[in-house]
């Protein structure tokens, strides 16, 4: 009961969506579309779970005086401010836009731009001619980098053309094989789910 009912729900809904995609039966199409929007609402409501457990972790940290409780307190305060201001004034209010522009935007792009620094250090460390594979990866990456920045053209006018060729030809081949493989893998996973063998997502572990 505790496992079979949820399993049945999943199987029926997967089959419903698949039929909806390949067959044009008005009844099925309507039902499937309704389920789709309903699910969007349900996953939005699930955000509450996250907030409850997030608050729980940080409150516990403060109460038990564990390290970094100051940071936890700051996080709870900003969380509360952002929820309250958004709830009271609405998300389109100028002050909310101001908070968004001056707190979330800089931190969002600062965090994302850390990727640039980390890519540089990872490239330095990993792009060594250890093996033929590593060398190919390195050469392709360097050519594309030179092709993208104006400095590549300044060295040799062929870099942009060569980098475009890499993107158009070998890259296309590789990407195609990858996505075909992924589609096959996903199909196999779904069939395992439909046969009731893959139950990991229902909390059974495997």
């Amino acid at each position: 009961m505790k496992l079979k009912v949820p399993l049945a729900i999943t199987i029926i809904l997967v089959l419903l969506q698949v039929t909806d995609y390949y067959l044009k039966v008005p009844v099925i199409n309507t039902v499937a579309a309704n389920f789709t929007v309903a699910i969007l609402v349900m996953s939005a409501i699930a955000v509450g779970i996250g907030i409850i457990s997030l608050t729980r972790i940080h409150v516990r940290r403060i109460v038990k005086k564990r390290p970094h409780s100051l940071e936890s307190a700051m996080m709870l305060i900003t969380l509360a401010i952002f929820i309250l201001v958004g709830a009271v004034l609405g998300s389109g209010d100028p002050s909310y836009i101001y908070m968004f522009q001056n707190i979330i935007v800089p931190l969002d792009s600062a965090m994302f731009s850390l990727a640039g620094f980390f890519m540089a250090s990872a490239a330095y460390r990993a792009f060594r001619v250890r093996s033929r594979e590593a060398m190919i990866l390195l050469v392709a990456a360097v050519i594309v980098m030179l092709g993208q920045a104006p400095i590549g053209e300044a060295f040799w006018s062929g870099f942009p053309i060569l980098s475009q060729w890499i993107l158009d030809v070998p890259n296309t081949g590789g990407v195609r094989a990858l996505i075909m493989g992924i589609a096959i893998g996903m199909l196999s996973l779904t069939i395992r789910m439909l046969m009731g063998h893959e139950k990991g997502y229902l909390g059974t572990g495997a």
Binding site: I9, L40, V47, L79, G86, L114, G181
Partner: protein
């Protein structure tokens, strides 16, 4: 509306937060941790507000207007909250199973077509183009690249002989793909750093720059001294 002074404060605030986040590049420290937690609170709170607005506009309002259909998702998602109950814990599985069923169903159906059959179709290229050696070579690389990379993932047994060679070719094609992807992404991420640095050059955020430089210098000197005095603080 927000006046001029608020604008200057905003520039200072966003510049300060950027520098606080960047201080992580030197090492994890209290300043970067504070930025991290402010960000966590702000971004998560913003996410909650938007989700709540979505539920309110798209389900609660229509329900209030008499569209009873919306009672179904609203009520059934409450089952999710049995997660916090010790006794009826398992009830959360019902709405979750529904979310998973719809979520995977949508993808698998569309994916089998767009990813598998459409990709095979796109790869059906002539292996020889008359009087056009350039395209002949390109087509050969694409076709054998796809074949090789497909075979490279063959799980059932270790490959030997000609299939091994083909799989090796596929592996090299994959490496080119990864390299190209790396190069292309690198450009994008550098653009982000450029954007951040440009925002720091705007007055009055620029006054933060020398301040940050001094702080980093102090931190480095501090760490050096700590290293020389053998293990005074066992923690770091």
């Amino acid at each position: 509306m927000i006046g001029l002074d608020a604008r200057l404060v905003g520039i200072l605030l966003s510049g300060g937060l950027t520098l606080m986040a960047y201080s992580f590049l030197y090492r994890e420290n209290r300043v970067s941790r504070i930025a991290e937690h402010i960000y966590l609170g702000a971004a998560t709170g913003y996410g909650v507000v938007l989700s709540a607005k979505y539920v309110y506009d798209n389900a609660a309002v229509p329900l209030a207007k008499g569209n009873t259909f919306w009672a179904i998702p609203l009520l059934s998602s409450l089952l999710l909250y049995f997660y916090f109950s010790k006794k009826h814990f398992w009830l959360y599985r019902l709405p979750t199973a529904a979310i998973i069923g719809v979520g995977t169903g949508i993808v698998v159906a569309a994916d089998f077509r767009t990813r598998l059959t459409e990709q095979i179709k796109a790869t059906l290229l002539p292996l020889f183009v008359a009087n056009d050696p350039y395209n002949t070579v390109n087509n050969l690389i694409i076709v054998f690249g796809v074949l090789g990379a497909l075979i490279f993932f063959y799980f059932s047994k270790e490959l030997k002989g000609p299939t091994r060679t083909l799989a090796d070719f596929g592996k090299y094609i994959l490496m080119v793909t990864f390299g190209a992807s790396f190069g292309q992404t690198f450009m994008a991420r550098i653009s982000l750093i450029i954007g951040r640095v440009q925002s720091l050059y705007i007055w009055p955020a620029s006054i933060l720059l020398p301040l940050a430089a001094v702080l980093v210098g102090v931190a480095i000197a501090w760490d050096r001294r700590k290293q020389r005095t053998p293990r005074v603080s066992a923690g770091k």
